[in-house]
Symmetry: C2
Subunit: 210 residues, 2 copies
């Protein structure tokens, strides 16, 4: 059985390049090329590839979302993300959505084939460069700012806010006055420099405080 592959990329050059790379490899077979998210979803409703090689920058839809949609349709399909050089901080997000691998577009034939084999075998393949991106992301995130330190109570309240609890509920839960909780919340706002709970949680996530 040859490994069936679906290419998703709106840029013809990349599609051709990949196709050429795989042409000599008779254990793999490109069964289709799609240029958009919609086209891809339509395609996989008819044929299920083993592996999808998917560009992250698509014309009609966010590539990360598409990844999730493909996995939702058929959990067995393995997905490898392709990205140009100048993006960062998407790798973990892509994995979280069910992606199995991540490559930069300057990948060589050898690595491409290794990556496909690896994900087909059920493991995760990240290119060295993709690993670096993860590091950059982490590094970039906390080398700029002076490291935010939250107190125990603040962490606690931040977590409860993240659970979806609101002020009064948290107060009840921790046996505190509502007003006290609001004070802590306010201090969190100040420390993370935000003005509402949504942003607080967003930034807290970015800074990996929760």
């Amino acid at each position: 059985m040859r490994i069936s592959i679906l290419l998703v990329d709106d840029h013809p050059l990349v599609g051709d390049g990949i196709k050429t790379m795989l042409a000599g490899e008779n254990s793999m077979e490109v069964i289709g090329v799609c240029k958009s998210g919609a086209e891809t979803l339509e395609f996989i409703r008819k044929k299920s590839p083993d592996v999808v090689l998917q560009d992250i920058n698509l014309p009609d839809e966010n590539g990360l979302v598409l990844c999730g949609q493909i996995k939702q349709h058929d959990e067995r399909i393995k997905i490898i993300g392709l990205t140009s050089a100048n993006e960062a901080g998407i790798v973990t997000d892509f994995l979280a959505r069910g992606g199995s691998g991540y490559l930069l577009k300057n990948v060589d034939r050898k690595e491409l084939i290794e990556a496909i084999r690896t994900v087909y075998g059920g493991k995760v393949y990240l290119s060295r460069e993709a690993s670096d991106k993860v590091m950059e992301q982490i590094h970039g995130n906390n080398s700029m700012q002076p490291v935010i330190i939250l107190t125990r109570r603040e962490k606690q309240i931040l977590e409860l806010l993240a659970e979806g609890m609101k002020g009064p509920k948290i107060a009840e839960h921790l046996h505190l006055s509502t007003l006290t909780v609001e004070t802590h919340r306010k201090n969190l706002f100040r420390k993370l420099n935000v003005s509402n709970v949504q942003l607080l949680l967003r930034i807290a996530h970015e800074k990996r405080l929760i």
Copy 2:
């Protein structure tokens, strides 16, 4: 130069097991064993290991947070997570915090050494089982519920809410009435079965709608 390794695990058996496994490997050296997060942070202030083998279940602190703290202290330290069999859905989170590898505790000697070599070389190593966990996580998340479909506007508003914008701001941004935005928001609440924006964003993230 031998690869220096710090073990972090409160369970002596695991620590001993790992130590024994690595004893025969003269390219690696265990330079310390810590039993808690606090102890770990203290240790790395004095000595910087190349690789940290870290249990996720620690007595005093969340292992994921500790991972972030270690990377914050010294970005060059590579961290491999260790976990018992019954946990899931932490792998990507661990990577997002700067972890470089993930193993189950029933790992054998060969894989352990390969994992250490891999992360020391700057790449990511996930055990087959860890990869499976990622899949389980994804699969478990969307196989239960009937797949939630959001309209274009709803997605749009969901994303703006995720950016931290509030009702009136969104209305302005989309040239809509505040009341209209509130209607959409209400519909989002209904579809995702939540009662406030925090929860909405939380659930939306879980279901990978944003």
